[in-house]
Amino acid sequence: MISTGNDIVVLECTDTERTKQTKFYSRILSEGEIELFKSNSFQTLSFENFVWLAWSVKESVYKFHGRSHPHTLFAPTKIKIKEILLPLKQNGLDLSDTIEGISLDDRTCYSCEVNFDLLTFYTRSFVTGKLIFTVANNTECFDSVHWGIKEISDDAYIMQSREVRSFVVSKLCKIFLSNDISIEKAARGYPVIAQQKHIPLSFSHHGKFVGYAFVINETTS
């Protein structure tokens, strides 16, 4: 089954001081992940950003897995990051405008291998001064993954929801060369393309940013 999962964390919407407290981060990080942080040289990643990177990775994996296992409960410490590879170069994402792409390059992203529910998942994350954006997959190849990030003017839930749907529909219209693209919910509650029901969509929003991810390859198209 084709699946997808993404997440976005806007750092100014998080409580930096609380994130650094054991009672907070111990609900997100496993012992192994705390050791992973200590043993790596994350010169460009503060501990609090590491915590939110881990959260974003776990939330994305949970969404990806949840499409086919809807009754799985979200328990962050049970989703275990086995390995984190740092980007070879700091990405220079210009968040003053909409950003979209196909594929996620491990040279510009944090790449994680994650174990959950006896399965292995892979994630790619952009970490900027403003936000962390993650997409999950069940293979190391992200070539068929479409993704997008957009800043919006209003952080009210209804606006986040409206903006992310309009953002992804606009992208899908370009891909399918059609103006007749809409979104509906699958029986299990996750969004799909109404005209291509086998293609699931993943939405995320936090503060004044929204993001999406979906997969289109030979199997889906």
């Binding site: 964390v9 919407c13 998080t14 409580d15 609380r18 009672k23 907070f24 609900r27 997100i28 939110w52 959260w55 939330e59 409960l73 979200f74 328990a75 410490t77 049970k78 009210a156 839930y157 929003h205 936090h206």
Partner: protein, 85 residues
């Protein structure tokens, strides 16, 4: 403390994390934090910590995992308050 009293207290815990005050005021056992109250998932840990502080309890990871709506959250709070006695 009655179930209804905890429900009312839980509304105070959740208030900083939802803009949907109407949904919060009409919250019942079936109300889901993310779907119905439109709370961002990134605040779920904050809510557990705030509930621990309000009721002077400790909610372990296994119990936190069971929380998916207001009713299950009240169940966990009541269970942890009983354990203190």
């Amino acid at each position: 403390m009655s179930r209804q009293e905890i429900l009312e207290g839980l509304k105070t815990v959740l208030a900083p994390y939802t803009m949907d005050k109407e949904a919060l005021n009409s919250m019942n056992d079936e109300t889901e934090f993310i779907k119905d109250l439109k709370i961002n998932s990134a605040n779920l840990v904050d809510i557990i910590i705030d509930a621990e502080e309000r009721y002077d309890i400790e909610i372990d990871a296994d119990s936190a995992e069971k929380i998916h709506n207001a009713g299950s959250c009240i169940d966990v709070i009541m269970e942890k308050m009983k354990e203190k006695i």
